[in-house]
């Protein structure tokens, strides 16, 4: 069954903004799907609201609609484009839900569009618990005792029979949001309530828990002919009980005998056949290690995070093949992309071990509970490949960038034995370190830990091997044989030095003399059986190297590692664009990265892909192997930039802005000195290392001040401080954090924040565009709504910004990209921060201005002058439309995190609203962000003193004017009355009760953030749980008015392509 010949034009639905549970993996899947469509000569039309993605670049699809993922926007698109088909299985739950809605609303029928690859029945059967369960009964696949409940009473009745523990899962949610375990009646009440709340259909599944069983996943593919194959089987290190997105996952399956493996494989295939899915599907199963009985946990009827992982782990591009299947092909008609000679209808075999390790945001959300359960909390993940489990595990730890290269976590070292056990029992993100500590101390054995945690003994055995090696390194002389063994097991030099009490020089001697260096092996899907054409490598300490160095001139791009708050998919965008530019300019492109979700680690993006940790040793090994003419660090965010000093010290050429300039930009004092010389104002600031010093400098600065530790990403630990009390509290907390770096105290400029990204060739700069933030200074730029082009700045101010940017670029001698953040207090322009690297806004500005920023940056790095390019120098022409970036928070996933915005970044993703007017763009931005836009009802307002000003009065009055009933807290109410705005004063508790009933909007600028016990915190959380707008800055509230008014007017925005706007 070859390609469907009736398809001329196909729409691909993206997954929208990055949230926990739905991240870069869909950029990867969607990009592959678009390419698969175009390869067939079919026009690919993409809709996605996420501007940071690679797929929304003009090279990936034929037409790109950066529009909200709403039924209205889709309908507008369908009306204009009239495609024959829609691919909805590549945009995560968002894409599927949207397709379901279009189908239900009859829109697909109206426009005569086919849903390709998935059909409504499959989705329903896979995702509706009741339908899924009855299907499983029908085909004889075991599912745990369970019940669909719509109320607490029904849930209680179920538990009466099935007994505890039970697991609660809300229907149709992302990442298991709102679910959890119940061990007793109290838990039950709690979890059932939240589960019902979270489920959009107010339905939950109660299930007898199989906690402690082995958790196994299969990625299955099926085509129209009913051919089924397994792409990859995966086994979770953490048994059932921890969300698979929060589990350490190992591929392939390690501890199942063939008969057990085949039993689960058969079940998976039976299920995908029963669901009649055409494309990819993920099946999760649990196996009882005591009896080999199993149950089916759940099915994802689409490509997913797991399929991205499986694709990278097995070298089999699931999304690409799934797209081909959706277009009509069968598996036996397709070719294995890796060998290019053998069939795609086979099951990849791995001759290495893969470990996926989640990346959690607990370093940023210090208040959040670290306990892991059924609700996913990780923002990203790393993957590592090696020949053994131990080595893959240690590589994964190194890749996490948590200042750790081993399984020994200092904070756990200091614990007492009972604390270590308590840590193990808690099942949090650091459990693995507690497990190893227990083994290290000899206070537990593999058997006792297995009893305690149900983690398979084989995995615990892996930890024991590592501990055994630690003991050997500590007690034996380090011989070449021992060093090789340690390296084979994944120990890095630093760790060998620490544990073995030796020095790098000693190791270096042994290494050089005995040639102990890693070799690179190919990920080839077939265990070496066939010749592979793909340049996808991993390192190991084996004997023969398969990576052959070519004679071409090469450039190495260092990637950005796992997705985390403050460093998201936008840096992957820059890396991928960088690689494409390098290739276009005639160089061989090499990338090193460790994030399995991303496009950059797709094996056909670069000339060579090294799937490796971004540790200096690993990067140096690749450099030693490839001898590139230079290394590009500025695309991978702070991760890669942090390597500058080390690479420079090793004599490696850094392309673009050099190490000295990077250092200059990042060293506060030196940089302030430079600004002084350039006559550019900057907030006055000091670096302090003690409490005494801190209070000393306050005498000079006065409050408010901004405090933060040096060298941070995403404003981690940053705070605006208004008083001595607050300062004292901050200092004690920051110091107790154990940061080695001093604290910075800066004058806090109240005013507008403006952001500029420029390309610099060392002489000239090109500024594609300027972005102005809606929120005043004090809100992290990543969490601000920002607008291109600026809509309130005068030309004079803009000229100053450009001039300052030029001066700074030249003085720093930046080559490539540079990002400068400014504050404007109405009189003066201050420089807040300079980042001599790519920034979050580069993909946005590239798209909205049409200036290929990364390409120009690479050209500049390789010696081409900007003046030679068609885009010229200086400020690029202003476009005749507006683009508004709106941040998106994963607040619903992290139940104990404050949603109030501040200097610390909290958002996980963003959307872009684009329109011919500022108002249209704002409206689309809010629509795209998924925020509910109420058109009437109640509004509760509570403001801190600082915000009780005329500006705020005007905003509240406007809400009242357009029909909202104003409720207020006591103080705010009095102030409003005094300023002529009538409101009804109610208590916080009452407000909380009424949220979702008559109160539809919460405007709350709190005095204290991040304090879980405070009443306003609970208020904000309740509003989030009810999925209602929580506006924590008056500027946001003002912008939101525009959206409400648009909605009240019943305006339906028209969807347009980026190219249309640009033309």
């Amino acid at each position: 069954m070859p390609l469907r010949s009736d398809l001329k034009k196909v729409v691909m639905i993206g997954s929208g903004p990055i949230v926990i549970g739905q991240a870069a993996e869909f950029d990867y899947a969607g990009t592959q799907a678009c390419r698969a469509i175009r390869e067939e000569g079919i026009e690919a039309i993409l809709i996605n609201s996420n501007p940071a993605t690679i797929m929304t670049d003009n090279q990936v699809a034929d037409k790109v609609y950066l529009e909200p993922l709403t039924a209205d926007a889709l309908e507008s698109l369908l009306e204009r484009e009239r495609p024959e088909g829609i691919l909805a299985g590549f945009g995560g739950q968002t894409g599927l839900n949207l397709a379901m809605k279009l189908d239900e609303d009859g829109i697909l029928e109206k426009y005569n569009v086919d849903l390709l690859g998935v059909n409504r029945e499959s989705i329903k059967k896979a995702e509706d618990r009741e339908e899924f369960r009855s299907l499983m009964y029908e085909i004889g696949e075991p599912v745990p005792a369970s019940a669909i409940c719509n109320s607490l009473a029904e849930s209680e009745a179920f538990v009466e029979e099935a007994g505890y523990p039970v697991i609660i899962r809300p229907a149709y949610t992302l990442g298991g949001t709102g679910g959890g375990f119940a061990y007793n009646h109290d838990d039950l009440v709690d979890k059932v309530e939240s589960g019902l709340e979270y489920s959009p259909v107010k339905q939950i599944l109660l299930e007898k828990s199989v906690k402690g069983w082995k958790e196994i996943e299969f990625e299955v593919m099926r085509d129209r002919k009913d051919n089924c194959i397994i792409i990859c089987g995966m086994e979770n290190f953490d048994p059932v009980g921890v969300h698979t997105g929060d589990s350490i996952v190992v591929a392939p399956i390690q501890t199942l005998r063939d008969s057990e493996y085949q039993m689960l494989r058969d079940a998976s295939i039976k299920i995908i056949r029963a669901l009649k899915i055409e494309g990819g599907c993920n099946v999760q199963l649990a196996l009882d290690p005591e009896t080999s009985n199993y149950i089916v946990i759940e099915v994802n009827p689409r490509v997913s995070r797991s399929s991205a992982l499986a694709s990278k782990a097995a070298g089999y591009p699931i999304a690409k093949l799934a797209a081909k299947i959706a277009l009509g092909y069968s598996l036996d008609e397709l070719t294995n992309y890796v060998t290019q000679t053998t069939s795609a209808c086979f099951e990849p075999t791995l001759d290495y071990c893969v470990v996926k390790f989640p990346k959690w945001p607990f370093d940023k959300f210090r208040e959040a509970k670290r306990v892991l359960g059924t609700q996913m909390k990780a923002t990203g993940e790393v993957m590592s490949i090696s020949r053994t489990f131990e080595s893959a595990l240690l590589k994964a730890i190194t890749s996490l960038e948590i200042n750790l290269n081993s399984l020994s976590l200092p904070s756990i070292h200091e614990m007492t034995d009972s604390e270590v056990f308590a840590k193990i029992d808690e099942q949090d993100d650091e459990r693995i370190f507690a497990l190893t500590e227990a083994l290290r101390r000899g206070i537990a054995t593999i058997d006792t830990l297995n009893e305690r945690t149900k983690i398979d003994k084989w995995f615990l055995g892996g930890l024991q091997y590592i501990i055994d090696m630690e003991h050997r390194l500590a007690s034996e002389t380090i011989t070449p044989a021992l060093l090789r063994e340690a390296e084979e097991m994944g120990f890095v030099d630093e760790e060998i030095c620490i544990v073995g009490n030796t020095t790098r020089d000693v190791l270096q001697d042994i290494r050089v003399y005995n040639d102990i260096y890693p070799v690179y092996k190919v990920v080839d899907t077939c265990g070496g059986e066939f010749e592979a054409k793909t340049p996808y490598y991993y390192s190991c300490f084996d004997q023969v190297d398969e990576s052959v160095r070519s004679m071409n001139d090469k450039v190495l791009v260092v990637g950005s590692g796992p997705i985390r708050i403050g460093q998201g998919v936008e840096f992957d965008y820059c890396c991928v664009q960088g690689v494409i530019a390098i290739r276009e300019l005639g160089y061989e492109s090499i990338i090193i990265n460790n994030n399995p979700e991303t496009v950059s680690t797709d094996f056909d993006i670069s000339d060579k892909l090294y799937f490796e940790p971004l540790h200096i040793d690993d990067v140096m090994n690749v450099i030693k192997k490839e001898r590139p003419l230079g290394v590009i660090l500025q695309f991978g965010g702070q991760t890669s930039l942090n390597l500058a000093e080390k690479l420079d010290a090793r004599g490696i050429r850094i392309l673009g802005t050099d190490r000295k300039s990077i250092d200059l930009a990042e060293d506060r004092e030196k940089f302030n000195q430079l600004l002084k010389e350039l006559d550019i104002p900057t907030p006055k600031g000091y670096t302090v290392t003690s409490k005494k010093e801190a209070f000393e400098v306050i005498k000079d600065l006065g409050y408010p001040v901004v405090v933060r530790p040096s060298y941070v990403i995403g404003g981690r630990g940053m705070q605006v401080v208004y008083s001595d009390d607050e300062l004292l509290k901050y200092i004690t907390e920051a110091v107790s954090l154990g940061t080695e770096h001093p604290i910075l105290i800066d004058q806090y400029i109240v005013g507008k924040e403006i952001e500029i990204d420029a390309i610099s060739d060392g002489e000239d700069i090109l500024i594609p565009g300027v972005m102005e933030h809606v929120e005043k200074t004090g809100v992290h730029s990543g969490d601000s709504i920002s607008v291109y082009p600026p809509h309130t700045l005068s030309n004079e101010v803009a000229d100053v910004l450009i001039e300052y940017t030029r001066r700074i670029s030249r003085a720093l001698n930046t080559v490539g990209l540079v990002n400068v953040q400014y504050a404007y207090d109405g009189k003066n322009v201050f420089v807040i921060e300079v980042n001599p690297r790519a920034s979050r806004t580069v993909p946005i500005l590239s798209k909205v201005t049409g200036v290929p920023m990364v390409m120009l940056a690479v050209k500049a790095m390789l010696g081409t002058k900007l003046s030679e390019s068609e885009y010229g120098v200086g400020l690029y022409k202003k476009q005749k439309y507006t683009a508004v970036k709106v941040p998106v928070f994963s607040a619903a996933k992290l139940t104990d995190v404050d949603v109030a915005v501040g200097p610390e970044m909290k958002s996980t993703g963003e959307v872009l609203g684009v329109g011919y007017t500022y108002e249209e763009a704002i409206y689309k931005g809010f629509l795209g962000s998924g925020m509910i836009i109420p058109t009437g009802g109640g509004l509760f307002v509570s403001l801190k003193e600082y915000e009780k000003n005329p500006h705020s009065v005007g905003i509240i009055a406007e809400y009242q004017k357009i029909g909202f009933k104003i409720y207020s807290s006591g103080g705010t109410g009095t102030w409003l009355t005094a300023n002529g705005v009538e409101s009804e004063t109610i208590s916080y508790d009452e407000a909380r009760e009424r949220i979702g009933d008559d109160i539809q909007i919460l405007i709350n600028v709190p005095k204290v953030v991040n304090k879980m016990t405070s009443k306003t915190f609970k208020l904000r959380r309740r509003a989030i749980e009810r999925n209602l707008p929580v506006l924590t800055s008056m500027d946001t509230a003002e912008a939101f008015l525009i959206a409400i008014e648009k909605k009240q007017a019943g305006e339906l925005p028209v969807s347009r392509t980026i190219a249309e706007y640009l033309s």
Binding site: P252, Q262, P289, T342, E347, W458, D542, V544
Partner: protein, 355 residues
């Protein structure tokens, strides 16, 4: 213990020896299956071969009392990347290493098995020596050179006398070239009443028990070494339904006039796609063979090629256009490997029903 593997092409792999303290010369082959090492090694078809496993972590789930394809290890030696000394599975009764020691099979770990695989891919399956004894390279090389590889191990591994597995269903006569337990299990699950004969048994004797069908088993080596089997099958053709697997497929094809040839490095694994032309559907198969049926020599007038390997287009199955005879090159019983092809046993039962 030292572990040494020397290949006929001169390459030397020094690793760590385990299992038996012994030396063996055999044909070095690789298998790409990620599961089922115990079943692989006890498959009689590996007799005479040194098995290099491409999956690097071996021994993870130990050795069970049930995962046997025959009563012993038939492979002459084992080469792996990483040995698991702490197995974990409820069925495990001993470690992989203990088992090899008990079964007197030499093995080597900590060698670059991927490189070995790629070498075989390039040069084809070749002679090799594996030793865990103290032996100089020169001595080992000499021993390897002096040893002639045999292609006729079916003569040794097949049953020596008639063996019965009673059942209440179809009467199946097996011609045994070195059968796997997995195949017997599949037939017994269908309640077949099985009589298993040494493959040299005369057609007359087999027919005297009036079976409903004949099954031709898998087995090691070159099918042309089992010429008595071919002769017997020639006489059985047209008299009873016949189903053959692996060597059984080659023997049936030869009895129907086709010839076989040796593949460069064979097919060994659990992941090959095979298309069933009649169904226009593909199946994932378990494979273990060096020889294949030459399609040019197949008498297309009477014999239809029913299955093809999706990777290299080699013949994976045939059937007679008029008579109830069919066979497949791969292993529908899995063991180890997928169960996707179990339907072929049903086809055999159906064929016997039709007669």
């Amino acid at each position: 213990m030292n572990g040494l593997l020397i290949l006929e092409d001169g390459s030397v792999y020094k690793g760590i020896g385990f299992g038996a303290n012994a030396t063996k010369v055999g044909e070095l082959v690789f298998n790409t299956s990620m599961t089922g090492y115990q079943r692989m090694l006890t498959d009689p078809s590996y007799c005479g071969q040194i098995l290099n496993l491409t999956y690097p972590l071996i021994g993870n789930y130990g050795i069970s009392e049930v995962d046997y394809e025959s009563d012993k290890i038939h492979a002459f030696g084992v080469v792996i990347r990483d040995l698991s000394i702490r197995p974990s599975n409820r069925m495990s009764v001993m470690t992989f290493s203990e088992w090899l020691e008990k079964m007197a099979i030499p093995a080597v770990h900590s060698v670059d098995t991927r490189d070995i695989t790629m070498r075989i891919r390039e040069h084809g399956s070749m002679k090799a020596i594996i030793t865990t004894e103290d032996m100089t390279l020169a001595d080992a090389r000499k021993l390897m050179e002096e040893t002639t590889l045999r292609d006729d191990y079916m003569k040794e591994v097949g049953c020596k006398e008639v063996t019965r597995f009673e059942g209440n269903g179809k009467k199946v006569a097996i011609l045994d070239f070195g059968i796997k337990n997995g195949i017997i299990d599949r037939l017994r699950r269908r309640d077949c009443d099985i009589t298993m004969y040494p493959y040299g048994t005369s057609a007359e004797e087999i027919l005297s028990s009036n079976p409903d069908g004949i099954f031709l088993s898998n087995g090691p080596g070159d099918p042309s070494e089992a010429i008595e089997g071919v002769e017997t099958v020639k006489e059985l053709i047209g008299k009873k339904p016949i189903f053959g697997i692996c060597m059984g497929h080659q023997i049936l094809s030869m009895a129907l006039g086709a010839q076989t040839y040796k593949l460069k490095f064979g097919h060994r694994g659990a992941n090959h796609g095979v298309i069933d032309n009649a169904l226009d559907k593909a199946f994932i198969t378990s494979q273990n063979h060096s020889f294949a049926v030459d399609p040019v020599t197949v008498d297309q007038e009477h014999v239809e090629i029913t299955h093809l390997n999706l990777n290299d287009g080699t013949v994976e199955g045939i059937k007679h256009r008029h008579l109830p005879l069919f066979s497949v090159q791969y292993h529908p019983e899995g063991s180890p490997g997928p169960n996707d092809n179990d339907y072929l046993f049903d086809q055999f039962i159906d064929l016997m029903g039709r007669k």
